[in-house]
């Protein structure tokens, strides 16, 4: 049977709880927004219940440890259409097994989840690398990103540790929300009008005085360290796929 939910992780866990309550299993679990409609079935919409979600979390932690829960939370951020079902299958298998199954790479569900987690990890790592802050006139360091997956929630820890004494804002231009740190804590933020934030380069009147100079210096540094005798465009693209170039001031032609 097909289930729909509100698109949150807690919502998905509520669905899983509901399948146990109804003594059934899910054939598909999709966010209600993405349900395409079908002639043959009407999906069951499950409302998110914090209490249910919490009980499933406790169950996962008991059987599979904190690591298993983290695995599922990370995979959920992939936004892959099949991920809801995978997480459901994992929880079922975990609960039915006498031992922790989270490192059983011979199992298809476990293996697939680990592969997704690896992709998420890679994207997080890319964001650590490719975020490029531009300093604004009011002294906020601003960066726009459009990650393949919804990894923004996984970023604060790294940037808080690195830049505790500066204000910064990392904005997901596609999902249209950001994380803002004010030297105390990080908060999720969204803006009714995010027009100015969508530019690769901030509008001139928003930029701090020396901002462009440093962008230019960085590009000239990047150009100077190249060794043309070793040129290897294939390797270069493998490390910096073209879709990430737009973030990178060193890849820009003009300022």
């Amino acid at each position: 049977m097909t289930f729909t939910y509100d698109g949150t992780f807690e919502g998905l866990l509520s669905v899983i709880f509901e399948t146990y309550r109804l003594e059934t299993t899910a054939t598909a679990i999709v966010p209600a927004e993405e349900w395409q409609g079908s002639l043959f079935e009407t999906p069951l919409l499950v409302a998110t219940k914090e209490e249910w979600a919490e009980r499933v979390k406790v169950g996962i932690k008991k059987k599979g440890g904190k690591k298993s829960l983290r695995l599922l939370e990370h995979c959920f951020l992939s936004e892959f259409p099949e991920v809801g079902k995978l997480i459901h299958d994992f929880v079922r298998k975990l609960m039915a097994s006498p031992i922790n199954i989270s490192d059983n790479f011979g199992d298809d569900t476990v293996l697939k989840l680990h592969q997704i987690k690896k992709k998420i990890g890679r994207e997080v790592h890319r964001m650590h690398a490719f975020v490029r802050f531009q300093r604004t006139q009011d002294d906020i360091y601003y960066a726009i990103i459009e990650p393949d997956f919804n990894v923004l929630p996984l970023l604060p820890d790294h940037f808080e540790k690195r830049y505790p004494a500066q204000h910064w804002l990392i904005y997901d231009g596609r999902r249209r929300y950001g994380i803002y740190y004010d030297q105390q804590q990080t908060e999720f933020v969204s803006f009714a009008d995010d027009h100015a934030l969508q530019y690769r380069q901030l509008p001139a009147n928003m930029m701090a005085e020396q901002e462009v100079e440093y962008q230019v210096l960085w590009k000239s540094y990047f150009d100077s360290v190249n060794i043309k005798e070793r040129k290897n465009p294939k390797l270069h693209l493998q490390h910096v796929p073209r879709r990430y170039w737009k973030y990178l001031s060193e890849k820009r032609e003009q300022f």
């Binding site: 011979g106 690398a129 690195r162 830049y163 505790p164 500066q166 390797l235």
Partner: protein, 417 residues
């Protein structure tokens, strides 16, 4: 910031780029609440050059003025290039501002030798000191220890830097004398040995007194230039092995010689020996993480690495009697010896087999490179031992991937030749 700084940056980054070390990992420097940066994790490549090298640090020379005349170096005295020198403040500003924008993990500062070793070293130390003390900078700092600099300055450098390196550059002293008349091994080994002692000393002390300041927490490294002089891989790997064992180096870097100069003292290479360089890194990896000994990789009979296949494959092809290895039985260290199985795969195998016998299908799904590994392993449903007896045929199959694809029947392996 003005045009002049940009020009200096271009000259001094260009001159520094031949030092291959770009690692920003291995330190444990944490940030403070009001500080800038940290150097705790793996180290991040913030960009990649068009030749695919990691850009992690702002890697520059303080100056490319130099009183020495090393044949392999662009900055040598007799070379006709534009010269420039940064001020202390300029390097500090660039580092801080690049770091704040998340361009870099930190600074890698080296220098040509102007006036003398101590004079140069003192400037390098001062930059690190200003960054750490005035700007509370806790990002990564790699300083070059200038050969011949005094122990006091080397010591001070260790208090501010995460890593220090002294480059041996040329893999034997005899060759070094020929291409760098002012240099000798003693001047390089002296700071290396001093650092080794100081690093160990500080670490011991830190165990007893936690507030002991850290001293070069990411250790020291060196670089060897490959292909400029006639040393073979056996010689080079033995040298590296002894540097790891005796000087406790964290890393030895290998840099394929790029014919940057038309200096008579050096061979005229058409291309840098990039494949050899890569094979040396692979061999180095086997020494450090796979439990291989130098004489298992190269020996008197085969003093040079096989350019056609990687060193682990070469080892397997020379020792067919040790294979196939049973992935369901063999201990972890032995599984690591299967070509195509890396550290991660080996760990996965050992974890997964507790849940049941591993079959070919499982290995495939785990992402093991079976195209290479299959000749050397045994799993629950497949045993390729009959193939393991024909090392030359396997070599052919592996080094000619295109042709192999058109051959659907594996038995035709034996039909050819």
């Amino acid at each position: 910031m003005n045009e002049r700084v940009k020009e200096k940056l271009e000259i001094l980054a260009d001159a520094a780029k031949y030092d291959v070390s770009c690692s920003s990992s291995g330190s444990k420097r944490k940030n403070t609440k009001d500080g800038l940066g940290n150097a705790t994790g793996m180290g991040i490549c913030h960009s990649y050059t068009e030749d695919g090298r990691c850009v992690s640090l702002l890697k520059v020379l303080l100056t490319n003025h130099c009183i020495f005349d090393c044949a392999y170096c662009v900055s040598r005295k007799s070379n006709d290039v534009k010269r420039a020198a940064f001020t202390v403040q300029e390097v500090v500003d660039l580092t801080i501002n690049f770091y704040r924008r998340n361009y870099i993990e930190g600074l890698f500062l080296s220098s040509g030798i102007f006036k003398n070793s101590d004079y140069t070293m003192e400037r390098l130390v001062r930059i690190a000191k200003v960054l750490r003390t005035e700007h509370k900078f806790n990002g990564y700092i790699h300083l070059k220890a200038i050969p011949g600099a005094s122990d006091e300055l080397i010591h001070e450098a260790g208090l501010y830097a995460d890593r220090l390196s002294v480059n041996l550059e040329i893999p034997s002293e005899m060759s070094l004398k020929k291409v760098a008349p002012e240099k000798n091994y003693a001047d390089v080994y002296q700071p290396m040995n001093y650092l080794k002692g100081a690093i160990v000393g500080h670490r011991e002390e830190k165990k007893r007194i936690r507030s002991t300041p850290s001293f070069a927490p990411a250790g020291q490294s060196t670089q060897l230039v490959i292909g400029a002089t006639p040393e073979n891989d056996l010689h080079i790997l033995n040298l590296a092995d002894s540097l790891y064992a005796e000087q406790s180096l964290r890393r030895v870097y290998y840099s394929g010689y790029i014919p940057i100069s038309e200096d008579q003292r050096l061979p005229a290479l058409r291309q840098p020996p990039l494949i050899r360089e890569n094979r040396l890194y692979q061999a180095d990896w086997l020494l450090r993480f796979y439990g291989f000994k130098v004489d298992e990789i190269v020996d008197q009979q085969y003093p040079d690495l096989d350019l056609e296949v990687d060193p682990k494959m070469a080892y397997a092809l020379r020792h067919p009697q040790l294979f196939p290895i049973d992935v369901n039985q063999a201990p972890y260290e032995v599984i690591l010896r299967i070509p195509g199985v890396g550290v991660k795969s080996a760990r996965k195998i050992v974890a997964a087999r507790r849940h049941g016998q591993l079959r070919y299908e499982h290995l495939k799904k785990m992402g093991i490179v079976l195209k290479r590994a299959r000749y050397f392993l045994k799993c629950a449903d497949k045993n390729f031992s009959h193939l393991g007896l024909y090392p030359e045929a396997i070599r052919k199959e592996i080094t000619q991937p295109k042709r192999a694809k058109t051959i659907s029947n594996q038995l035709s392996l034996f039909g050819t030749n």
